[in-house]
C-alpha cells in the first residue's frame, strides 16, 4: 500500500479554471493576426518589418527592465500584445528606429516604471504612440496609399484628414474603408479584419461587449446627430482597433459593468468632440488615454450593490 507520501497542503479551492494570463494574451495575439495579415497585404513587407521590430524591442525591453528591477521575467505574452498593438498603429513609412524608441517607451516608461503588468495607468501602446506623435510629428503623420490602389509609395491623405468627405454618404468609400483599402496606420484600415478579431475575443468571452458596443454606438449616434455620415465615422481612423483592442485592455479600463458602460459612452463622446472640434483629425488615441486616467475613479463609484446590503450598519455602539 503506497500510503506513505508527502501530501501537499494549500488553501481551498483545489480546482482552477485553467485560464491563465498567458492564455488570455495569446488569444489576443491570435485575434490580432488577421489585422496583421491585412496590414501586410495592404502595405507590404515593410508592415511586417515594423511589427517585428515593435514586438522584438518590446520583449527585450521588458526582459531588461525585469532584470534591472530584480524581478522574474515571465513570458506572459503581454509584451507581445503591446508590441503588436504599437506596430499596428504606426504609419507605413515610419523609420524602424523610431518604432524601436516607441516600444522602449511603451514598456520601460508606461508599463514597468509604474510597476509592470497590472499596475500601469495608461495603455502602453497608446501612450507610446502619443509620445511618438509629439516627438516625431512629421514621420508620424505621413501616409501612403495602400497597394490595392495601385499608387504604391505615393503620399496620400487619410480619410479623416480630408474635410471634404465627412458629410457625404459614399458607398464606394465605405467599402474601401471596410476592407482596408485606404490609407492610414497599418492595422487600423481594415475594419473587417478588426471586426473578425474583435468578435473572436467577444465570442471567447475574453473581452466584455459593453465597451466596444457603447463606444461605437455613441460615435454613430453622436455623428448622426451632427448631420454627418455615421458609417464613415465608424470605419475611419482608429475607432475599430481602439474600441475592440485598446479600450478593452483589462488593466486600464474599469472593472465594473456599469463602469464599462460609462467608459464606453465617454469614449464615444470624446472621440467625436476631438474629431469635430479638436485640432487633430483623429480622437481615438487621446480619448482612450484620457479615460484611462479616469478608470480608478469610475471603479470607485460604480461597484454593484453587494448582496444583502440593507443599510450601512452603524459602527457598534
Amino acid at each position: 500500500m503506497k500510503l506513505q507520501r508527502a501530501f501537499l497542503v494549500s488553501p481551498s479551492p483545489h480546482l482552477w479554471r485553467g485560464i491563465s494570463i498567458s492564455r488570455i494574451m495569446y488569444l489576443v495575439v491570435l485575434a490580432l493576426l488577421l489585422p496583421t495579415g491585412a496590414a501586410i497585404y495592404f502595405f507590404g513587407l515593410r508592415a511586417l518589418a515594423i511589427l517585428a521590430v515593435s514586438v522584438a524591442v518590446s520583449l527585450l525591453t521588458e526582459y531588461l527592465c525585469k532584470k534591472m528591477r530584480r524581478r522574474a521575467f515571465v513570458m506572459d505574452g503581454s509584451a507581445v500584445v503591446t508590441g503588436m498593438l504599437l506596430g499596428l498603429t504606426m504609419p507605413p513609412t515610419v523609420p524602424l528606429w523610431m518604432v524601436a524608441v516607441g516600444a522602449v517607451f511603451a514598456i520601460a516608461i508606461v508599463k514597468e516604471a509604474f510597476g509592470g503588468l497590472g499596475h500601469n495607468i495608461f495603455n502602453p501602446a497608446l501612450a507610446a504612440r502619443a509620445f511618438m506623435a509629439v516627438s516625431f510629428p512629421l514621420p508620424m503623420t505621413t501616409w501612403v496609399a495602400p497597394r490595392g490602389l495601385g499608387l504604391d509609395g505615393l503620399t496620400s491623405a487619410t480619410p479623416l484628414s480630408g474635410d471634404s468627405v465627412w458629410q457625404q454618404f459614399d458607398p464606394a468609400a465605405h467599402q474601401a474603408m471596410f476592407l482596408g483599402n485606404t490609407s492610414g496606420s497599418l492595422g487600423e484600415t481594415s475594419a473587417l479584419a478588426l471586426l473578425i478579431g474583435g468578435c473572436l475575443l467577444l465570442g471567447l468571452r475574453m473581452i466584455d461587449w459593453r465597451i466596444p458596443v457603447f463606444y461605437i454606438g455613441v460615435v454613430a449616434v453622436f455623428t448622426l446627430a451632427l448631420g454627418q455620415d455615421p458609417i464613415f465615422h465608424i470605419l475611419a481612423g482608429g475607432l475599430m482597433i481602439g474600441a475592440f483592442f485598446m479600450a478593452t485592455d483589462y488593466v486600464t479600463s474599469p472593472l465594473t459593468n456599469r463602469g464599462k458602460i460609462i467608459f464606453g459612452i465617454s469614449l464615444g463622446v470624446l472621440t467625436v468632440l476631438i474629431r469635430q472640434f479638436g485640432g487633430m483629425p483623429e480622437g481615438v488615441l487621446y480619448s482612450i488615454l484620457i479615460m484611462n486616467a479616469f478608470t480608478p475613479l469610475i471603479d470607485r463609484y460604480t461597484g454593484e450593490k453587494p448582496y444583502g446590503l440593507v443599510k450601512r450598519a452603524k459602527d457598534a455602539g
Partner: protein, 445 residues
C-alpha cells in the same frame, strides 16, 4: 410538463461558475465502510462550543453512547461510534478553524455492541420540546458541511417568522455524491425528517432544491412526495448545475428572491435551510432514537475504486482510502470536503468528522502567483456581488478596515473568485485572513 405539479420551473443564477462535475460515484450504491480498529472522536464536531469528555481512559463504551458534551447553548454532543475501551486522548486539528481540539481514542472490541435505543412509540405525539431534545441528544449538526447544531436552527427566536423551509439537495461541489445517494437510497427517511421539521416550524412553503445533474434524484423525490400525498405541500425546484448554487444565501435569492442581510442568517428572511442528510438524521433520531454516529462519505478522485461509503465518525482517512483500493498514480493531495471549499490534509490518520461529506484524492501543484491584471472575472462570478480583487489587494496590504468597508464579511468563502483568477491569486485565502483579523480586533461583547 410534469403532471403532478411537484416540480417547479428550473432556476439559475447569473453568478457562479460551471465547474467540472467529476461525479465519478453518482451511480455507486452506498457501501458500509469497515469498522476501524480504533476510532478517534473529536470532541468538537459542531460550529459552536467544544464538548468535554464524559468518559475516562479505561472506560468501556458502547456504540451510540454519549461520550462528550457541553452545557454551552450552541453545542452538540458526540457519541461513541463503535464499542470498546477508551484508550486515551489525543489532539486533532479541527479543519475549519485550524485549531487543535481534544479527541477521545476508542479501541474497538470488534463486537459493535449498541446502547439500548429508545424509539418513539408514537412519533406523531411528540411535543416540539421532545423533538428538539431528541435532536440535540442525537448530536445532530448540519451535514452539508457547516456543522451548525440542528436543534438551534429549528428553534428560531420568537420574533423571527419562518415561512419557508428549503431542503438542500443541490450538492454543487464537484466530486461529491453523498447527498445524491442519500436522496436515492434514503429518500423516505429524508422526507420523514422533513415532515418532522415542518411540524416544528409550520411553514407556508417547502421546497427541495436539487441541481439538474441529478435527474434520477429529482424523479425519485417526486415519486415519494406523490406517494405520501404531499404534492400540494412540497415542491421540487431544479437548479442549473453551477457552483455555488447550494449555498444558503444563493438559495434564498434564487428560490425566494430574498437576500440575507449582511451578517445575518437565512432566518432573518424567513427561511430555514437543511441538508438532505440532516433531515435523514433527524428522522433516525426522532423516530428511532438513533444518535448521529455515521454518515455517507464520498471517497473519490485518484483512488482505485471510488465509492460512496457509510462511515462511522472517527474512522481514519487511511482506512477509507485503503478500502477504495488505495491511491493511484502520483496524486499528492487529500481533501476533506469538496474541492472548492474543502481542507487539504497532510495526515491520513486524521479521523472523519460529522462535517466530512467527501474525501478527495487528487494531483495538484502549487501555481505561481502573478499580478492582478484587473480582468474582472472574480467580480463577474462572485455570488455576493463583491469585488474580490479589491478585497485581496486591501488584505495583502494589511488594510483590513478597507476590507470591512468593502463588505468582506459578506464573503462566505465559496472560492469561485480564486477558481476563475488567471493570475492564480489566492483571493479567498487573503479574505479569510482579513476576516479572522477583523474578528480578532472586534470588541468583545
Amino acid at each position: 410538463m410534469n403532471k403532478s405539479g411537484v416540480i417547479l420551473k428550473k432556476k439559475s443564477s447569473p453568478h457562479g461558475v460551471k465547474v467540472p462535475e467529476r461525479k465519478l460515484t453518482a451511480g455507486r450504491p452506498i457501501e458500509r465502510a469497515p469498522l476501524p480498529e480504533k476510532a478517534v472522536i473529536s470532541l468538537h464536531q459542531n460550529l459552536g462550543a467544544p464538548g468535554e469528555a464524559l468518559v475516562r481512559r479505561g472506560d468501556r463504551v458502547l456504540t451510540g453512547q454519549r461520550i462528550g458534551d457541553s452545557d454551552k447553548f450552541v453545542s452538540a454532543p458526540v457519541h461513541a461510534t463503535l464499542s470498546g475501551e477508551v484508550t486515551g486522548t489525543t489532539m486533532v486539528i479541527n479543519p475549519p478553524t485550524a485549531q487543535p481540539v481534544e479527541a477521545l481514542v476508542i479501541g474497538s472490541d470488534g463486537t459493535d455492541e449498541w446502547v439500548q435505543l429508545e424509539p418513539a412509540d408514537r412519533p406523531e405525539d411528540l411535543s416540539a420540546e421532545e423533538i428538539l431534545d431528541r435532536i440535540r441528544q442525537a448530536g445532530i449538526v448540519g451535514l452539508g458541511g457547516a456543522a451548525f447544531p440542528s436543534h438551534i436552527k429549528l428553534a428560531p427566536p420568537k420574533k423571527a417568522t419562518i415561512d419557508t423551509i428549503i431542503l438542500n439537495g443541490c450538492e454543487c461541489e464537484p466530486y461529491a455524491t453523498s447527498d445524491h445517494r442519500v436522496m436515492l437510497e434514503y429518500g423516505d427517511r429524508v422526507l420523514s425528517g422533513l415532515n418532522i421539521i415542518r411540524r416544528l416550524l409550520s411553514p407556508q412553503s417547502v421546497y427541495i432544491a436539487i441541481e439538474d445533474n441529478k435527474e434520477d434524484a429529482i424523479a425519485h423525490m417526486e415519486d415519494l412526495i406523490i406517494g405520501m400525498g404531499l404534492e400540494e405541500t412540497i415542491k421540487i425546484v431544479p437548479l442549473e448545475s453551477k457552483y455555488p448554487m447550494g449555498a444558503e444565501r444563493v438559495l434564498t435569492k434564487l428560490l425566494l428572491n430574498r437576500e440575507v442581510p449582511i451578517g445575518g442568517l437565512p432566518l432573518d428572511v424567513g427561511a430555514v435551510i437543511h441538508n438532505v442528510g440532516t433531515t435523514k438524521a433527524i428522522h433516525e433520531a426522532v423516530v428511532e432514537g438513533r444518535p448521529l454516529i455515521e454518515r455517507v462519505v464520498t471517497v473519490t478522485g485518484a483512488v482505485k475504486d471510488p465509492k460512496n461509503l457509510m462511515v462511522r465518525f472517527g474512522t481514519p482517512l487511511r482506512t477509507l482510502i485503503e478500502f477504495c483500493g488505495g491511491i493511484v498514480g502520483s496524486a499528492n493531495k487529500v481533501i476533506l470536503g469538496g474541492p472548492m471549499m474543502g481542507f487539504a490534509q497532510f495526515d491520513l490518520d486524521f479521523p472523519t468528522v460529522k462535517g466530512t461529506n467527501s474525501v478527495i484524492v487528487k494531483d495538484d501543484s502549487a501555481l505561481a502567483e502573478q499580478q492582478c491584471i484587473r480582468c474582472g472575472r472574480c467580480i463577474e462570478v462572485c455570488p455576493m456581488r463583491l469585488m474580490p480583487t479589491a478585497l485581496a489587494r486591501y488584505a495583502q496590504a494589511g488594510h483590513y478596515d478597507l476590507c470591512k468597508e468593502a463588505y468582506v464579511d459578506n464573503c462566505f468563502e465559496c472560492g469561485v473568485c480564486t477558481y476563475a483568477c488567471p493570475a492564480n491569486i489566492p483571493i479567498v485565502q487573503h479574505i479569510k485572513v482579513a476576516k479572522r483579523e477583523l474578528a480578532r480586533r472586534a470588541p468583545r461583547k
